[in-house]
């Protein structure tokens, strides 16, 4: 199929779940028309039961549409070529519990027919990127914590260096540090020109990394657009400055009020709780995120870029 800059396109996509006798039971997705551009981070938002997971399952051919068309990277969802180019991190890390970390990645690598030499290089590289240490690599997945399971799940999604990555609730189960690392990685992937489809109900995460979002409710698309545009309050202006005394600030406030501004206030900005947590933990451990090889950012991000 021709590449027209679209990573995902759906036309009138509808999914109706039926009962044993074939009678319609639930309309999980109703006439979804969606386009995701190559190279963007796209957020799929909505409350539980809104159709987010159904959309992802349809894109991955895990379920079949009742009506409508789907195109992923220009291919039909049952195309093997499409699967060669995507990576998928499911909501929970649904992996073989009796394999260890390395065996898991080797298995998924073989699904892409990666040769032995490539696997030997790629597997430790990915384990480094997601921050699983040597001890964890040899442990069986059933012994992994939830955070470790998310990390190995992410590693298997990246094993083929995909063009499109579908992340279903990627930060679920991660601590704030892990959440930050995950978001850094998503941004890193975007820098590499990859497309990321993010499905989450943790709105702060989505806001931090997504270029565009859509909100689904009861199977229907409610809104679609760039995050900045959607969140911007156009009739309120904000001025930021560093190094002013309290007297100087009062002068500025009076100056703005003279110019006719209503409800002019001056406050000090607050950081996010996540930023505070990361700063405290890193100061305490004295570790450097980039150099220590425990996170996604910095050198690890570079690794991802190289790979």
């Amino acid at each position: 199929m021709a590449d027209n800059g679209e990573a995902v396109r759906t036309n009138h996509l509808t999914k109706v779940y039926k009962d044993f006798w074939g009678r319609p039971k639930v309309t999980a997705l109703d006439d979804l028309n969606l386009t995701i551009h190559r190279g963007e981070v796209f957020g799929l938002l909505g409350p539980n039961g809104s159709g987010k997971s159904t959309t992802i399952k349809l894109l991955l051919n895990l379920i079949f549409p009742t009506s409508g068309d789907i195109s992923v990277l220009g291919y039909r969802p049952d195309s093997r070529l499409m699967k060669e180019k995507i990576g998928f991190l499911p909501e929970e890390s649904y992996l073989h519990r009796f394999l260890n970390g390395e065996e898991t990645l080797e298995f998924y690598g073989k699904m892409f027919r990666l040769d032995r030499r490539t696997l030997k290089r790629r597997v430790p590289e990915l384990l480094d990127i997601v921050g699983l240490d040597a001890k964890a690599r040899k442990r069986k997945l059933r012994e992994y914590s939830k955070g470790m399971a998310r990390r190995i799940g992410l590693a298997q999604a990246l094993i083929n260096n995909p063009e499109l990555i579908l992340l279903d609730e990627p930060t679920t189960g991660l601590d704030p540090l892990g959440t930050k690392e995950m978001k850094d990685l998503i941004l890193s992937l975007k820098q590499q020109g990859k497309t990321v489809l993010l499905c989450s109900h943790l709105l702060a995460d989505v806001q931090d990394v997504c270029d565009r979002i859509t909100i689904l409710f009861r199977g229907k698309m409610q809104t679609l657009g760039e995050v900045r545009d959607l969140l911007q309050v156009r009739d309120i202006a904000q001025i930021q400055a560093r190094g002013l005394t309290a007297a100087q600030l009062e002068e500025v406030r009076q100056f703005i009020a003279k110019m006719g501004a209503q409800d002019a206030t001056i406050t000090h900005p607050t950081t996010t709780l996540e930023d505070l947590f990361v700063r405290v933990v890193l100061q305490k451990t004295g570790e450097n995120i980039g150099a220590g090889g425990v996170g996604y950012a910095g050198a690890s991000g570079d690794n991802a870029a190289r790979s």
């Binding site: 895990l62 394999l99 073989k110």
Partner: protein, 693 residues
């Protein structure tokens, strides 16, 4: 149409494979990667091993140890045989149970816990997933079989070694019977784990004296009968040039002679013994055989003719042919042809049946019937078709076997508990002839060939009450059918169901064609004989090799079990999948137990419900025809279900008989003949299945 019906399972299987792989799934076939399949199978194998599936083997081994210690074998060879039986049974049981549970639960559980998400979203096809899982579980069953095989091999060798001490002690016992001593000596020399290759004759035939040229004799007193096969269709009963609706009369033409070699008193006349009174002038009328005009001869013997259909249901009994006592033989000891008209009702049944057999014998003691079996078209019996209005002969139907390579006649003895019975008589017993043709021979250094015999022996009521170890004495001769030369008799002693080992001179069996003639010399003993009662040793193979073939047979069975369980799990939850898999595996066997009884089953069921005298009642006919229709439907269903009786892994191993490759090929044909189409069906079901719950 008949070709289609006979090969329905292969046609159906072939259609599924062609449609599934070359039409619907061609894209998946073209990108099929064995590397991905092997990777999937590796995960299945590793997961099974790490879930400690192999822990079932120590449990089975402990079970075999315990049961082997609790059994009471009747000799050392039997101890080995029973241990082997338990071991192979335990191996088959755990490999079947393990694989059926693993294979039926795997896919539904992967869908349920969503592990399948990360697999199907990779560039593997659902065909590769199914094949990979089948191979993975086949690797698990191979691992179980390897462990159990090594255990069986080791345990049997240790047990055989320890039993040699018991053999030595037994031989030192002066009180030991000769039969047992001979057996122990053989065990000591040949070992307890020997595996031989054997040659067998066909079913033994019972005669009153050894066959000579084209002459055959059968004894009277209901000891044996000649059975002639007719294999025709209804159309064959209307000769060319005869209008289809022309009424046809029939008569049996029987050409034979008889000899009365025994004088008996009138009060023990066999007909009297049956409670049938002789006519007042019968004695004078019937004792007129010219060549032996002795007043002590019994009345002229009668011929009993029975006609049965292919399911052994009676078509005509002696009473249907004119006289319940039978038909009186002609007053000559020369060959004479008797013409026996068949009533129209019997003739009609023969046309309907098409396939039937005519049994000819006599209940007269001391009488033997003689038949001529020349190589040309002449037959000792034929069915003559006659135009009843003009008495014109329309044609003769001669005996014809369904298989043109086999003779349409056999001489069979009375059936007892253990097979065809050979009555004991030191002077005048019948002869069982085991005809060995084109056999290999393993001639020992002293110019002998080795035989093994295992027979069942019945005794008269008086003998059974005697608490003794009396053996049965048999006289064995070896005869060259080409020259008629016979070896000197070899007198052997036998006990019921115990192996007897004997040798015969090889010089009369030079080209592998010979008859083994067996007489029973012990009065009051009835020897039961079957096709496998006497076997010729033609060579030997390693026990390990035979064990390997048995394990291979079990592996083929486990492969079929895996595929069936996997197939069921693609559209059912795992508990239901296990139940359905068991049903599919056992249905063919179950239907075979019903047997192909034709329309008799319906009649039997209806008779049980309504009693015996309501053959014309409408309810009777409704029940009868319904049961028959159901039976036919089940028989048809059985053709498309796998026949697990083909996976008989332990029988030869226990008997120390080399398993022929043919048997393994037959088992492989069932495993792959059903397995491949079912794998394709499983793929098609999974291909169209939404794997997200």
């Amino acid at each position: 149409m008949e070709l289609f019906a006979d090969n329905i399972e292969y046609i159906l299987g072939g259609a599924i494979v062609v449609l599934g792989l070359l039409v619907i799934g061609l894209k998946d076939v073209l990108c099929f990667s064995f590397r991905r399949v092997w990777a999937i199978s590796g995960v299945v194998f590793a997961e099974s091993i790490r879930r400690r599936v192999l822990w079932v083997t120590p449990l089975a081994i402990i079970g075999v140890f315990i049961v082997a210690q609790l059994t009471k074998p009747f000799d050392e060879q039997d101890a080995i045989r029973q241990t082997l039986k338990f071991s192979i049974f335990a191996t088959g049981l755990i490999v079947t149970l393990t694989t059926i549970i693993l294979a039926a639960t795997n896919l539904p559980k992967e869908i349920e816990n969503r592990v399948i998400y990360t697999v199907v979203t990779k560039p593997t096809t659902r065909l590769e997933i199914i094949v990979g899982k089948v191979i993975g579980f086949a690797r698990v069953s191979a691992a179980i079989l390897l462990i159990m095989g090594l255990f069986t091999w080791g345990y049997l060798h240790v047990r055989a070694w320890s039993l040699q001490g018991s053999i030595k002690a037994g031989l030192a016992d002066a009180q030991l019977s000769q039969v047992h001593r001979n057996a122990l000596q053989h065990y000591r020399e040949a070992g307890l784990l020997r595996v031989n290759t054997y040659a067998w004759s066909g079913e033994p035939q019972i005669f009153s004296q050894p066959p000579e040229g084209d002459r055959r004799w059968i004894p009277g007193g209901d000891q044996a009968k000649a059975q002639f096969f007719f294999d025709y269709t209804s159309a064959d009963f209307t000769p060319p040039g005869v209008m289809p609706d022309t009424p046809i009369a029939m008569a049996l033409l029987v050409d034979l002679s008889y000899q009365q070699s025994r004088t008996i008193m009138p009060e023990v006349d066999p007909l009297s013994a049956y409670g049938i009174p002789l006519p007042s002038n019968a004695a004078a009328e019937e004792s007129t055989v010219p060549s032996t005009p002795t007043p002590l001869l019994p009345p002229r013997p009668r011929l009993q003719i029975n006609i049965i259909d292919s399911q052994h249901n009676p078509i005509a009994r002696p009473a249907d042919l004119g006289d319940a006592r039978g038909i009186m033989l002609p007053a000559t000891d020369q060959f004479a042809t008797m013409m026996i008209p068949l009533p129209p009702a019997i003739a009609g049944k023969l046309v309907t049946a098409g396939q039937f057999a005519v049994d000819v014998g006599t209940s007269a003691l001391g009488t033997q019937l003689s038949f001529r079996l020349p190589q040309d078209q002449y037959q000792p019996i034929s069915l003559r078709l006659i135009n009843p209005e003009t008495n014109q002969i329309l044609g003769d139907l001669v005996p014809r076997a369904p298989d043109p390579q086999t003779l349409p006649v056999r001489f069979i003895g009375e059936q007892g508990t253990f097979g065809q019975q050979l009555h004991g008589d030191p002077h005048n017993s019948a002869i069982a002839v085991f005809a060995f043709r084109n056999t290999d021979r393993a001639v020992s250094s002293d110019g002998k060939i080795n035989f093994e015999m295992n027979i069942g022996i019945e005794r008269t009521g008086a003998e059974q009450n005697v608490d003794s170890d009396d053996y049965t004495e048999l006289e064995i001769r070896l005869a060259d059918p080409a020259t008629g030369a016979t070896s000197p008799p070899n007198i052997i002693q036998a006990e019921s169901n115990r192996n007897v080992f004997f040798t015969m001179p090889a010089d009369l069996a030079q080209n592998g064609n010979f008859n083994l003639l067996v007489r029973n010399l012990t009065t009051g003993h009835w020897v039961g004989l079957q096709a496998r009662s006497v076997q010729l040793v033609t060579g030997n193979v390693l026990f390990s090799w035979n064990l390997f073939k048995s394990l291979l047979m079990l592996w083929l069975m486990s492969l079929l079990v895996i595929i069936i369980a996997m197939f069921c799990s693609t559209f059912l939850s795992w508990p239901i999948a296990i139940v359905l898999a068991v049903i599919i595996l056992l249905s063919n066997w179950g239907i075979q137990q019903l047997g192909d009884m034709g329309n008799e089953l319906g009649n039997q069921v209806a008779q049980q419900i309504f009693g015996g005298n309501q053959g014309q009642a409408p309810q009777f006919r409704v029940v009868s025809s319904s049961v028959n229709t159901l039976n036919k439907a089940l028989q048809a269903l059985a053709k498309v279900l796998p026949d697990i009786s083909q996976f008989s892994a332990g029988e030869q191993l226990q008997r120390g008989v080399n398993m022929p490759w043919r048997q393994l090929i037959d088992a492989a044909a069932v495993a792959f003949g059903f397995g491949i189409p079912l794998t394709v069906l499983a793929y098609l079901f999974l291909r169209n299945k939404e794997v997200a719950p």
